[in-house]
Symmetry: C2
Subunit: 118 residues, 2 copies
Amino acid sequence: MGNDSPGDRLAHEERVKYALQAMPSEDDISTLAARFKAISEPSRLKILFALSCGELCVEHIVQAVGGNQSAVSHQLKILKDNRIVKARRNGKQVMYSLADGHVMAMISVAKEHLNCND
Amino acid sequence: MGNDSPGDRLAHEERVKYALQAMPSEDDISTLAARFKAISEPSRLKILFALSCGELCVEHIVQAVGGNQSAVSHQLKILKDNRIVKARRNGKQVMYSLADGHVMAMISVAKEHLNCND
DNA sequence: CTATCTTATGAATTGTTATTCATATGATAA
DNA sequence: TTATCATATGAATAACAATTCATAAGATAG
């Protein structure tokens, strides 16, 4: 034993205490994790980039990201359930768009992270 | 037929064209998706919140987020492989910390999204 | 009404990912 | 050296998610 000085050990315990205080509730963690999961599939991420240019109907999303209608529809449902995108009906078509600015903000930060090799 | 006016149809085709131009490369999409996936598990998200208070060794991460040593170690590997966290050895311990500010920035944006019911 | 266009959904299959257990590796102290 | 502490990893299982197919539902035109 004696791997830590007493001072170090105390500092570590303090850190754990702070970490526990900063921890969001289980509910918030679940919700956040679900949202990140929603945007963590390549096809769904493509859908978001497509929608970053403005609203699109399902058929055009299919054209923009590839894949088939059923798959895209399932993916849109996941994005909608997690409030990443929103939908409005326009006659026979359903127009999809990004739910709010936070979504693109998050993706922008991620893209920056991608570009700088830190 | 005749579901769209000719003007509308043109506008939609333009939108698809723009969407395709704005689309990142397959490689960038994959990398981004992998990073989002890395932070989309509740336990891994908890690890990031714990590390947002400063670096921690593995044992203390285990205390802060719950779970067992092996599971946490596997999760840390995923986070490290995706450059979400970084590690430095300190004697027998390995200290983990967030890779850079982008990570917390992304999580902060997500938390805002959580708080405002838009 | 029927026919058609567009989107959504249930069920089955397939593919991925997390968790656990046992053990290996790396570092330090005696 | 051996003993111990701290972390990492491989392999198996178990849990979960994505994709496909077939079909249903919603909207409009005729």
